[in-house]
């Protein structure tokens, strides 16, 4: 069953190599076929492993291929781990990845760089698979960095536009800040446990005291890595900018898979994190803060992708919130459902943008529901899912998070709910502004409006189905479900059972409350944007300070620019012009100059006059005699 495991990441890699090397010679259709085929192949192999794992006919397996770095105390093998956690992620990656590949075949068909696009998309899938399949931190790190690079290449896919390139660079560098934390965390793990293998690390934690400084340091450092990759405060600003890339990329990388790598990593390291309640609390705070913070920004954005981007940041915050509560499987559940509905949202947005010939501003849209029916309905499903309307996927996962929050404290529950309501509001705002009302774009755009081709709509429909039913794998007990996912994952969580202990009545009550509130918010949004036909104001028009601050994303980018980027350049200049040229090189050159100057000065001693020479000689003689005989 597992003999073909190595092919799972290798197929996309082969795809990448074929597309990369044959870039010039392949036609677009061949290229897209190769790309999709390789991912499909991987997906099928993943399924062939998934089912035995579910059946229990296949136990957790580590497959070791070769020694990667093996020297001294470092024994790192290139090996894969197949367990419920990794297989879940692999399924998402290859499954959603395949759908997005198919979608891309339509979406990118007019782009001259399509082969290049698919090459990097394949490489991304390869890296992402490496990330989740690795059986030790170093393979994870390899994938971790690999996805960062692919993200860089794909955000800057339209490299002629320097703004996109800036966005790509920003993404990579911010990720790298996190990577440093992650690397240091890894080093500390290595230092502490003498290994980077999950198996070894997680089984030797007995000697570590809970909340000891080492484990807090390790987990915090790992979390810094997650912050970068999963766009948490304060390292989130790259993600909205990353929307510069093609929309399917945003769907795959910046919604469904890569950004959830941080969550995967924390879930994977749950043994360590559970030993550090302090860190968990910290994650809780960061997660919740991110969820709320990003949601408020999302309320006023006008770019369809930006709204989705902030929504993603916010949802990721939610997931970390769940992790901070110790609800690892819940977080993973949300990863799963989020992958479905957020990918769907992005793909729909892509379809809209496709139809609008590249227009992304929702102020210029409206009334698209009739022209783009499939897109509209799928978008609606996704919006319902993200808003947490039962029985759509988002409801179950979100509800579980809120339940865990309530168990901790009602305040957290309240804040969590507030986030969810904001999410609902901006999502419906988006929905209403885009698909309802009358068209606000140009005539040209209006004539051009069309539903997307099948290659794009089929993935939409598949994802819509998944967004609808995806939640059923985690139906909570209270609804009579067995929370199948939790059980499936539990071996990975090593018995740290995380069942919330709320009574069924409370649970029902909470659900009712949240659903009720959500419906209320939808109604409000409907009144504002459909009934009153409010359209966000164009830029430059005076608005309230609060709104302006939100619109400008709390000026975080500007603040970072002022406190990090500019001082760095200033320091660079100062070091170069002052320290380097004046101080160090000045000293070095000064020595040379000193010799030169001395030489120039004392050569006048040799003034050409014999009498003077003789005199100098005699003085010298007298001094020598004096020195020798007297002293």
């Amino acid at each position: 069953m597992t003999e073909l495991t190595w092919l799972i990441p290798l197929l996309p890699l082969i795809g990448f190599l074929i597309l990369g090397i044959g870039n010039k010679y392949l036609t677009k259709s061949v290229a897209s076929t190769i790309a999709c085929a390789t991912i499909l192949g991987s997906f099928l192999i993943v399924l062939s492993i998934l089912f035995p794992l579910i059946n229990g006919t296949l136990a957790n397996t580590t497959i070791s291929y070769f020694d990667w770095i093996n020297t001294g105390s470092v024994h790192l093998s290139f090996s894969f781990l197949l367990d419920p956690l990794s297989i879940t992620m692999m399924t998402i990656i290859t499954g959603v990845g395949f759908l997005i590949h198919v979608y891309s075949a339509g979406y990118m068909s007019h782009d001259e760089g399509m082969t290049r696009y698919f090459a990097f998309l394949n490489l991304f899938v390869f890296s992402m698979l490496l990330l989740v399949m690795g059986s030790n931190y170093i393979v994870l790190f390899a994938g971790w960095e690999g996805v960062g690079f692919c993200s860089y290449m794909l955000i800057g896919f339209w490299y002629k536009n320097q703004n996109y390139n800036d966005a790509a660079k920003k993404a990579f560098i911010m990720n790298r800040i996190g990577d440093l934390g992650f690397l240091l965390g890894m080093l500390l793990i290595f230092q502490t446990f003498g290994s980077l293998d999950y198996a070894t690390v997680f089984t030797t934690t007995s000697s570590i005291e809970s909340n000891s400084s080492v484990i807090i340091a390790i987990t915090l450092l790992l979390f810094v890595g997650a912050m970068g990759k999963s766009a948490q405060i304060p390292l989130y600003t790259w993600l909205p900018d990353a929307m510069a890339g093609p929309t399917p990329v945003s769907a795959l990388i910046h919604a469904a898979t890569m950004v959830t790598a941080g969550i995967y990593m924390v879930v994977r390291s749950n043994v360590l994190f559970s030993l550090a309640p302090f860190t968990l609390e910290f994650i809780q705070i960061i997660g919740l803060a991110t969820a709320l913070f990003a949601a408020t920004i999302g309320l006023v954005q006008n770019d369809i992708k930006k709204v989705l981007a902030y929504s993603t940041v916010s949802q990721l915050g939610y997931m970390f919130f769940a992790l901070g509560l110790g609800a690892y499987s819940t977080a993973l559940f949300h990863v799963l459902t989020h992958a479905f509905f957020k990918a769907l949202l992005f793909l729909c947005a892509g379809s809209v943008i496709h139809a609008m010939s590249g227009e992304q501003d929702i102020r210029n849209m409206g009334g698209l529901a009739k022209k783009l029916p499939i897109t509209f309905y799928t978008f609606l499903i996704a919006t319902l899912a993200i808003s947490g309307i039962p029985p759509f996927a988002g409801f179950f996962s979100k509800d579980e998070i809120l339940a865990h929050a309530f168990e901790h404290s009602p305040l957290l529950w309240g804040l969590g709910l507030a986030g969810a309501l904001m999410t609902t509001f901006y999502m419906f705002r988006l929905l209403f502004l885009t698909f309802f009302g009358s068209f606000r774009g140009t005539e040209h755009q209006k004539n051009h409006l069309h539903e997307s081709p099948l290659s794009m709509t089929i993935p939409l429909m598949v994802l819509a189905v998944l967004s609808t039913i995806g939640g059923f794998i985690g139906i909570p007990e209270v609804m009579g479900g067995g929370n199948w996912l939790k059980k499936f994952i539990s071996p990975v969580l090593g018995g740290t059972a995380e069942v919330h202990t709320l009574s069924h009545e409370t649970e029902w009550l909470l659900m009712g409350l949240s659903v009720g509130a959500v419906l209320l918010v939808i109604a409000i949004a409907y009144i504002i944007y459909v009934s009153k036909k409010t359209v966000p104001l164009t830029e430059g028009v005076e608005t309230s300070v609060a709104q302006k601050t939100l619109y400008h994303k709390y000026y975080i980018d500007e603040i970072y620019d002022t406190i990090v980027v500019k001082p760095s350049y200033l320091l660079s200049n100062m070091l170069h012009q002052l320290v380097e040229s004046k101080l160090i090189d000045g000293f070095v050159n000064g020595m040379g100059t000193a010799v030169n100057k001395t030489s120039a000065a004392i050569r006048f001693v040799q003034d050409g006059s014999i009498s003077y020479y003789l005199f100098a000689m005699v003085v010298g003689i007298i001094m020598l005699l004096f020195f020798n005989t007297v002293i």
């Binding site: 040379g592 010799v595 004392i602 050569r603 003789l614 000689m617 020598l624 005699l625 020798n628």
Partner: protein, 460 residues
Amino acid sequence: MNVLIIISILGIVAMVSEIFGLRKSIWYIVVATLTGAFIINLNDWDTARRYYDDMVFIDNYAIAFMGLLLFLAFVWFFLSKDQYESDQFNTSDHYAQIIFSLTGALVLVSYANLSMLFLGVEIMSIPLYILAGSRKKDLASNEAALKYFMMGAFATGFLLFGITLIYGVVGSFNLSQIQHHVSEVGNLPLMFYAGVVMIMIGLGFKVSAFPFHFWAPDVYEGAPVMISAFMATIVKAAAFGGFYRLFSVCYTDISGHWAGTLSIVIGTTILIGNTLAVYQVNMKRMLAYSGIAQAGYLLLTLLVLTNASANALIFYIASYAIATLCTFGGLYWVIKFRGNDALDSFKGLGKSNPILALAMTISMLSLAGIPPAVGFFAKFYLFTVLLEKGFMPLVLLSVLGSLISVYYYFKIIIKMYGTASDDTSTLYISIFNKAVLIIILVAILAIGIMPNFFLGIITQ
């Protein structure tokens, strides 16, 4: 001893050769005789003998130095052949005087008596006073001769005064008796030490140590180029031979009394020589200062006075002299083609005459003490000998000096390879002269790589 006689006779032959119409063949006679003398000299190896009532002592040290001097003279005659063929000078007169001077130099490295030291110095110097002024119409040459003469005579006075004071204490000019007196009798009066310093001054002048170095740059600049070459190499080598011989034989036991003074002289010589060379724009002057600095390194051996230091001295002086000779040889051609001896005449030489440029480069590397040229090994050996006796501060100073010296030696290299000349004509040097340069080059490199043979010379 035979060598001394042969070379003296050769001088006379050279002087009268014109009368017998041998002018054309005198070069061949000289070269052949020098070769013969060299072989005869080597034949005496390991037969330490004293001659004429202990006036001359041909030991291995003397033989080594005499061999070196003969070899350098041999090379000199090759390098200067073109100059004398172009009839600027009266060949036989010049040759005679050079050979007389060489005789003096040979005496200076083989003496066993202070009177022979004095005679050696004088026999070596007087012809050079004349040679320095041999461009009779040239004011620079006149001035060089005057300066050399005036200061030489003055310094001779001090040398003699020193000898006299030593004689006053010991009652003999004989080196072994002086040595005996120093080691056995002891309790030396102040007069003796004053005499030692006076002799040090007189010889210090010959080797152009600070503060008696003033003549060197002016004289080198004014004198004809090959005469400067002779002064910078053979004369300096002989002076060091004499200097070291006297101090190693006689004054080893009282080194505490003069080593401090000498250290000061050495330190200042190295610093002043190197520093002053930096700003020079005239090649000959620069070489003069470089020679002063090198004299400082060479004087370091006098602080140690062991067999090893004698080896180091010979090796170093040989390496210095051969490289300097080669440099002057190259300079001669540059002056011939470009008309002046400014550093700027070397511009673009790398293109216009690669062989000449290569010769200059290797010589400069050797002088600067960079492997694989022989100069490096000489410096290395010198430092080893010194560090063994713990002269760390002086060695560090020498290293500093070496670094400064790289500055001016490399000026030439940079001029040759790094800058283009306005005059792009290719310079033609005959095959013979090219061959001479190449052979010297090979020697510089070969000895640098295989110095083994020369290191064991002095092993009494």
